[in-house]
Symmetry: C3
Subunit: 352 residues, 3 copies
């Protein structure tokens, strides 16, 4: 029933992505699937030439393929960017669950909080004083929203998310389970007795269309604000320190750690397990490989970077090649030393 | 009273592990302990010869020791594998807490969910539509179980665990606090405006006897499933990306990150803080050292691996030795250059 | 109203930190701020000479500056350590929120638990049998406290924190959201069938004035205890394995992982994403740089350490310089080889 309701014809799906149908345009599609696992009623896609043959014999009812590609599936949608078309079609065939607007009776919502009538507030959710929840936003079981927090419309806040006081969240933001936003930044001043907390009285701003992976943490600014820019996507267990300014459409893979006051400009791509010292500026368009390490204060120019500490990828590769030839270098040096020794002997004999 | 109830004689414990008693077999034991801290009523173990002397003078009431070992404790159980025997005896002396079957009145359980009568459901737990909880399974405070989730029997789901929709969990699975299973994988397709979500409509299968450490995350497959095989043990804060297939009896230490579509075959051992690029295959029996980094698409053969990017441990060590001799190489080169210069001078003088 | 209530005169603030006022001592201050963002009513600080000029023209109502520094702001507090004074003043101007003592009706507290009358227990909190909560301690929404847990006075336990059974927490401890204390350590014994759990029946002791960052995990000892010493500060997503003994006033940055039975003595400073093998001892005063890796069993002496595996910082830098000169070394070697070849030819010709 559910499946039937969202089924679409190949024609409808082609129209959605501006594609060209080859074959029977009335075929009904109700699911996206991979080339290998697809069955009747499924749509799949192929973009890379090396999978054209597999796609040609897929049991999918329809294959999205590049325009003019040598893909022989009997029913196809041809488009310029098959993977993108597949993603857009998936949004239609598998729309995210939209629970009915409601506030669960076990939720604890402050009297001064302002929750939109169309919001969904799950069991055991907690919303503090003067906080606001926008239209059609979902807050799932056990999430805890502090005081004076603003959450926009169409957000999905998954279970056990914690948002501290005074944080601002835009529209269409997705926070996966266990995300923590606005915990104190890590800053202390030492005296003879030990450490005093440096004030952590700033805030966090998460802009529209941001997605944060499970258990990711974004710390509150010491003074001022920590910002995650519009359309930025961050994977699981990433650490964003106090006062960072992450731009728009930045992608950061899992377990990367970003120290305080780092600026990452728009459209950067950061691998997993990267480590940033504080006060780094990554310029727009830079790509940093996984496991890289960047020293505090550095300016990272556009281009591809790699290694600890980071270097341009080309240099990194060249140096790595040199390192792997080290045994050879030592052998050459040894042989050359022997030749010099023989020359010395010879000269000495000549002189005698 | 509690302690008394579970006390066992040395005889009973020896029988349990197929060991041989030397000394008084009627001594009562009620606790496992270390060689150094043990007191009356405690049992301890020794396996490594260098601790035989310490074990000989331990105040433990009984020492588990290798067969025929030179351990002089007056009461001993001799077995082939003392550490294993110690672990098995600990299971009996310190059985995990088994709360009485019950459903806490603050738990929110969907009408269509099927919870076994012998299950324990703690306070503020949430269980979604069409989900099932098996016999004797415990779900502790604040855990959140989505819709259409299957959980087997004898599982322990610790507080604040989050399981998204459609995930399947086997029998005797232990999920520590803060574990997140089934959050969306990290996949996007870029167009001019920014990033579109690649469909994350697959599922996660956690097989029998798996244990996942605190705050570990296992992502949902894009299409198909992410799998953690039977008997696999994963430490804290490990990231398992979408569509990974982790085999049986794999061990993965803390903070390791595994990108999408990685296959780790049975019986592999992975250190902590290791980083995997996507589409890697680790063949059965491979051992990967802590902090290693593995490039996307690589096939890792059986053996011991180390470094960034990984190399066989022997090669890694050899190359590291070469690197540490670099200052020496440059010195040699300098000296040799001087000798060549002198030869050249000499020859020139001879010619004059 | 709130702001007005905590406003202080420059005179009062100067007295608090033992500073000397230059300018109008009756000016009212109600907020700390950065040099750049400060406005009327704000106090800021400057310590580094390169910001003296900026501080001189800041719109802050008062600037904390080093004694006798060339800072021309009309109202100043001069002290020996401006940053420390700023932190102490912030504690007064921005005291942490103190919710009224209360137990939320949705909290589930065991009959045998002992909660101080002045404690704050938030919504959906769970406290187990025989646990104790000290004077003025706050436990926020959805935190889960096991059985026989002791929590001291003036602690702040943020939302979704999980504390397992038998853990002991000192006074003035701050645990940020998602912290997990006392989950089982990662230890197994293998036999033919697979892995048996090594007993994890020890405990965890968190001493006074400790602060743990969001989603950090401290594992229970196998036998004995895991300890975090007085005044130690740990950042987000740090893993502390079973039986670790972390001393007093230690600082550990985000995402560092510490294997079992590691000892870190008092006053060490550990960077982010550092990895520790098991059974390491770090001696008091050692400083370990971010992303370093330390092999099991190592003793780390006082000093600054860096790299994988760690080396003294000086050696690390020297070796890195050598590595970066590798292309040059190979060029030199090539040239020298050519010179030797020419010498050989020459000699041969001479001989003919």
């Amino acid at each position: 029933m559910d499946e039937a309701r969202r089924a679409k014809t190949v024609d409808e799906l082609a129209a959605l992505v501006g594609g060209c149908v080859v074959g029977d345009r009335t075929v009904l599609i109700n699911r996206v699937n991979s080339v290998a696992s697809a069955a009747e009623g499924d749509i799949t896609y192929v973009e890379d030439e090396k999978y054209f043959e597999a796609a040609s014999t897929s049991r999918a009812s329809c294959v999205i393929a590049p325009v003019g590609a040598n893909v022989k599936a009997p029913c196809r949608i041809e488009v310029a960017k098959p993977k993108l078309a597949f993603a857009l079609i998936a949004e239609v065939l598998h729309p995210p669950k939209r629970p009915e607007p409601s506030i669960h009776p076990t939720a604890v919502i402050a009297a001064s909080a302002d929750v939109a009538l169309t919001a969904f507030i799950g069991p055991h959710v907690c919303i503090g004083e003067h906080s606001g929840v926008g239209v059609s936003t979902q807050i799932h079981a056990g999430a805890s929203i502090g005081d004076s927090v603003t959450i926009g419309s169409d957000c999905v806040i998954h279970p056990s998310v914690v948002i501290y006081d005074n944080v601002s969240i835009g529209d269409r933001v997705i926070l996966h389970a266990g995300v923590v936003i606005g915990a104190d930044g890590f800053g202390y001043v030492r005296d003879e007795q030990g450490y005093h907390k440096f004030p952590q009285v700033g805030t966090v701003v998460i802009e529209d269309d941001v997605e944060l992976g499970a258990n990711t943490c974004v710390d509150r600014a010491a003074l001022g604000r920590t910002r995650i820019g519009r359309g930025t996507k961050i994977d699981n267990m990433v650490h964003v320190g106090h006062n960072c300014d992450i731009g728009e459409r930045v992608v950061i893979a899992a377990q990367t750690g970003i120290s305080g006051s780092v600026i990452i400009e728009d459209d950067c791509v950061i691998g997993g397990q990267v480590g940033f010292g504080d006060h780094i500026r990554v310029q727009s368009g830079a790509i940093i490989g996984s496991k890289a390490g960047i020293l505090p204060g550095k300016i990272v120019r556009p281009g591809v970077w790699w290694g600890i500490p980071i270097q341009p990828l080309d240099e990194y590769k060249r140096l790595n090649a040199h390192i792997s030839r080290l045994p050879h270098v030592r052998q050459e040096l040894k042989e050359l030393t022997e030749r010099v020794r023989m020359l010395e002997n010879e000269l000495r004999q000549n002189e005698e």
